[in-house]
Subunit: 443 residues, 2 copies
């Protein structure tokens, strides 16, 4: 996944001289080796600000290094949250039928609407936003939540302020940096200047202290949370909506794991009255339907959501979707429609239940070590606390002792230090084996 660092790099020495502080070349051993053509196009300063490695490629690299040292190790990957169970037949059959049709005059389909097929938009509105007053034309089908995050960033542009939960899924911050909202990364705190980090941990029931949170234009909020696994309660979300309304903020609410909620926690921000005036929701079929590789998601942009000048956000988002996107694959959309049929939905519930049984097994294993363990009841992630320890050290220790890949909490922001995230996606026997190794080797 990680693009090789070993590029044949050739730089003009004057670049080193001209840009001694910021230049990539200045710290690079190849500088001055062989002269090559450099364009006169400046590197985007926003990309220069990004910390060097994206989290998952970095983990992937460490995993490879581990395997080089231990070529016979039986690795168990509970790191990246990647679905493992086959997609129910009823859903793949719908996709097969669609694909077969593409070879026929009657079944062939070219460009669809950039916003998605209306049948799918309707099904999402009816099945997942029942009684919330969300209309089909407020739903924009996408190729996944991560992709929509970056389209939303293009929509909002560089001149808005932003708050994120800490810890949180890295794409919110990284894409905010890319569009130019952040200052420098402060090495000491691990935080970017100009971005507000809202700490969420057990001490505040994983919900930020809004009384001390500064106003920002945008608030990224993920529930059930990745990585902590916490699903915000109705009371917490009411506070969040009231806070956004009082501050004139827009919440970008990520509900990609909503299908994993087992208690009464809201599955959508739009269950909260008034949310349509303050929130956009992004979501995905990835974890709900095992579509991580098939690629399908959606965003909800209510018509009631207005910029400060009264202009509807939905109109600009529609423009972004038409200009920067060309619709999700029509095959994936055919599958998405089948996911929302009565039988498809039930089949997916069974898969989700399976993953949640896995989660129970992992929670038990870490609990038996005496760790404080969070998550795993409303989300497929377990968030295990190792007080006083560095999360990368815990990650390495677990990898070395058990050959299990996890994710160091620090990768989700400074608030994730002392934690690791464990994914419950996996085949049962591998989860049981992971549990055995955790209990045996980490005591």
């Amino acid at each position: 996944m990680y693009y090789s660092q070993h590029l044949s790099c050739i730089c003009m020495p004057h670049a080193v001289l001209l840009q001694p502080k910021r230049s990539w070349s200045s710290s690079h051993s190849n500088a001055g080796k062989r002269l090559g053509h450099c364009t006169q196009v400046p590197r985007n300063v926003n990309l220069e600000k990004l910390r060097s490695g994206y989290l998952f490629p970095e983990i992937s690299k460490r995993e490879s290094e581990h395997m080089q040292k231990n070529p016979h190790a039986s690795l168990l990957r509970l790191g990246i949250g990647d679905t493992t169970e086959p997609i129910p037949d009823i859903i793949t059959l719908a996709m097969v039928e669609h694909v077969r049709g593409l070879s026929t005059i009657l079944g062939y389909r070219g460009y669809g609407a950039e916003q998605g097929n209306m049948a799918l938009r309707k099904a999402i509105a009816e099945k997942l936003y029942q009684d919330m007053g969300i209309k089909a034309d407020e739903i924009f089908v996408s190729d996944g939540a991560q992709c929509d995050i970056s389209r939303l960033q293009m929509l909002l542009g560089p001149n808005v302020t932003v708050a994120v939960q800490d810890p949180s899924f890295p794409a919110y911050i990284d894409s905010s940096v890319i569009v130019g909202r952040a200052g420098e990364l402060e090495e000491e705190t691990g935080k970017y200047e100009n971005i507000i980090y809202m700490n969420c941990g057990p001490e505040n029931n994983f919900f930020p202290d809004l009384s001390t949170t500064p106003r920002t234009d945008i608030i990224f909020f993920c529930s059930p949370n990745n990585p902590t696994g916490h699903a915000a309660s109705r009371q917490q979300l009411k506070q969040l909506v009231a806070f956004a309304k009082a501050n004139g903020s827009i919440i970008i609410y990520d509900s990609a794991y909503a299908a994993y909620i087992t208690d009464e926690s809201p599955k959508s921000i739009f269950e909260i009255p008034g949310a349509k005036e303050v929130a956009i929701e992004i979501s995905s079929f990835s974890k709900f339907a095992g579509f991580t590789g098939v690629r399908l998601g959606w965003s909800v942009v209510p018509k009631e959501l207005l910029y400060s000048n009264g202009f509807p956000v939905i109109k600009d988002f529609n423009r972004i979707v038409c200009t920067c996107f060309n619709g999700a694959s029509n095959i994936a959309q055919a599958g998405g429609l089948a996911c929302l049929s009565t039988d498809g939905y039930q089949a997916l519930r069974n898969v989700i239940d399976y993953y949640m049984e896995n989660a129970n097994i992992i929670v038990d294993a870490f609990s038996s070590l005496g760790s404080n363990v969070y998550g795993g009841t409303n989300a497929p992630y377990i968030w295990a606390h190792f007080p006083g320890l560095s999360s990368w050290n815990v990650f390495s220790e677990i990898l070395e002792k058990t050959n299990i890949v996890t994710v160091p909490g620090r990768g989700f922001g400074p608030g994730g230090e002392q934690y690791i995230r464990v994914s419950s996606f996996g085949q049962r026997e591998r989860i049981i084996e992971a549990s055995r190794r955790i209990k045996k080797f980490l005591r």
Copy 2:
């Protein structure tokens, strides 16, 4: 395709008072009707600058209006360049097999590499960039060229200057405006401030006069060109590469229609020696394989392409792909691989030949009117000249007299005035019928 304009809009009157000049509400009849909550988030000024309608939705709207007035008209759509012929069986069978596998333990696939499956990257490098020295890891598989254009815009950021062919595919300019490179739209000229328009017409053999073209950081160049249908000659592309090298510019070369080239014109910018130091190429399976709805494309970012400080562009693009994208659908990628097999490729050549026979028929029809007709030999687009006439008027006249939808050249920039673009994608009998109507009703 076009999001309805009839949104229930409610604005706070103070917004009108506070922003009398720029506010959308100030010119809106609903202002002051009913008070609703406005956030305090400012609308992105870059989106405010965009002209109101994206071209294809605007055409779609006019088409709908025409059909409301003429409900029984037999409409022939030769407007938007959308493929119509079934995808050859050999390609859909590969996708069917992949989809079936997703319901099995062995065949299930979750996240793939963000950059695309290596087998597909290799096949693209070997089949389409043979003898050009492009390596598999310089190829990034995407969900289409239009999507990659916007990712390239995020990569390069707002602080670069840009030149585009005039006329050109609207996404280059629109996405440049969205990321913040343009000044205001000058109503008189129809051009954005700070964007260089390189006129391309029959007077300069559809190639810009580089001796009078100012230096820019980025040069968007599309060949075979959409809309003019002109494929740049080897000599022209050598000039372009030399120009970019002398100026330290980066060419973003769009080869989405390369498969339609029938003469000796280069099918890739990388056929030109030295191009790897100055160019990125974007391309697509959309028109090559009828994948407009399946969604698959790629970009080539050579390792030799360096920013002014010597940093390789490919490293930043890789970061953009990992942060803002999550890979193309694995089903589409399975299809893409089949497209590049010997038999798949041959089957696609037959489809392309079919469309090019359509192009001949349309060229003949417009030529018989005495029009000067361009394109149609190396591209599926015909570019017909109506000297002295407004292209929207020609569009309307053709629609009214023949019930044929075309595209007014003006939609591709000021340089497209007096032209219309006609697509040759269509079933043969419809193309023949279009030809008949053109000859009969437009004389």
